[in-house]
């Protein structure tokens, strides 16, 4: 019981923006180092260790950026949805900062997944794009991200904007299981899941390991950029407060 209270108390301590900024400053160099090492190892395995696929040939190397981008695009949205609950239910001071900071990063990963998927699809399927369930639901995810970024910028007061953004984020979260299970529910040109599925991965370990290392590298990059963007958003809000004080002459 006491342990639970202590853990909860520590979590709430982090809700203090100044403590959070100190934590970010302390972990940032380690995260940058970890991300660099993971990308160096991942890219080496992608180009020099992973074999060419017996059907797709060298084109399979696009998988090592396409699949982690798609995973992170969805992971980022799930993180935003959890933060939105934190913002709406507990009014956690950092929750809406987290949502706002994550949206452009998620949008970039979604764009990367769509674009690299298209570049992989043309030589393998003979077409850049098809309106199948997986591709269409992923395009909807990209549009959701752009809509959330637009909404964040429309409402000037961050506290008022946070509520609207949190609600829209939670409504859009219904798209995540649709993306995941679209290849099972509908007949799609996109292949079914081959890594995250019941019964274990159906992909050969020589292709799977480089993919997992690249997925870790993408995750480390996301955490690094998200914390940096959250730090920027906190400072932006402090500047807004200072400017409002200057405008009202309160601190003169």
């Amino acid at each position: 019981m006491t342990d639970t209270i202590t853990t909860t108390s520590r979590l709430w301590d982090l809700a203090n923006p100044t403590r959070f900024l100190r934590l970010v400053a302390a972990v940032q160099p380690w995260l940058i180092g970890l991300t660099t090492i993971l990308f160096a190892v991942g890219l080496y395995m992608t180009f020099f260790v992973a074999p060419a696929d017996y059907q797709q040939g060298e084109t399979v190397r696009i998988m090592y950026i396409h699949v982690p981008s798609a995973w992170l695009a969805m992971f980022c949205y799930v993180a935003m949805a959890i933060s939105s609950i934190g913002s709406l239910v507990w009014r956690h001071p950092l929750a809406d900062v987290s949502v706002k900071a994550a949206a452009p990063i998620g949008a970039t990963f979604t764009f990367l997944a769509l674009a690299t998927g298209s570049l992989w699809g043309k030589p393998m399927w003979g077409t850049w794009w098809v309106w199948d369930a997986r591709l269409t639901s992923f395009l909807i995810l990209f549009i959701m991200y752009l809509g959330l970024i637009a909404l964040q910028r429309t409402i000037e007061d961050p506290t008022r904007g946070a509520r609207a953004v949190a609600i829209l984020t939670l409504v859009g979260a219904i798209n995540i299981p649709i993306i995941k299970f679209s290849v099972d529910w509908w007949n799609t040109l996109h292949q079914p899941a081959s890594v995250l599925k019941i019964g274990g991965p159906s992909i050969h370990p020589s292709l799977l390991w480089p993919l997992l290392v690249m997925a870790l590298a993408f995750t480390a990059l996301f955490v690094t950029l998200h914390l940096a963007a959250m730090r920027n958003e906190i400072v932006r809000r402090r500047i807004r407060t200072l400017r409002m004080m200057a405008a009202s002459g309160e601190d003169r």
Binding site: P17, L225, N232, M245
Partner: protein
């Protein structure tokens, strides 16, 4: 064929797009960071402090 690899052009384009997108994301965060720090320092140099910072006499919450 590109660089002696079948569909090599598609592979090169995919990785170039990846490098460009990630570089743009990193540049956005770094440029934003520097710009915000400069603005905050400028405001503080004009004597503006948040109430919590001013009362604590330092870099408070």
């Amino acid at each position: 064929m590109f660089l002696g690899i079948e569909h090599g052009g598609f592979i090169v384009m995919a990785f170039a797009l990846f490098a460009l997108s990630i570089s743009a994301l990193i540049a956005w965060v770094v440029i934003d960071h520097r710009s915000l720090d400069r603005i905050e320092a400028d405001l503080q140099a004009r004597g503006l402090r948040r109430r919590s910072t001013a009362s604590a006499g330092g870099d408070g919450p």
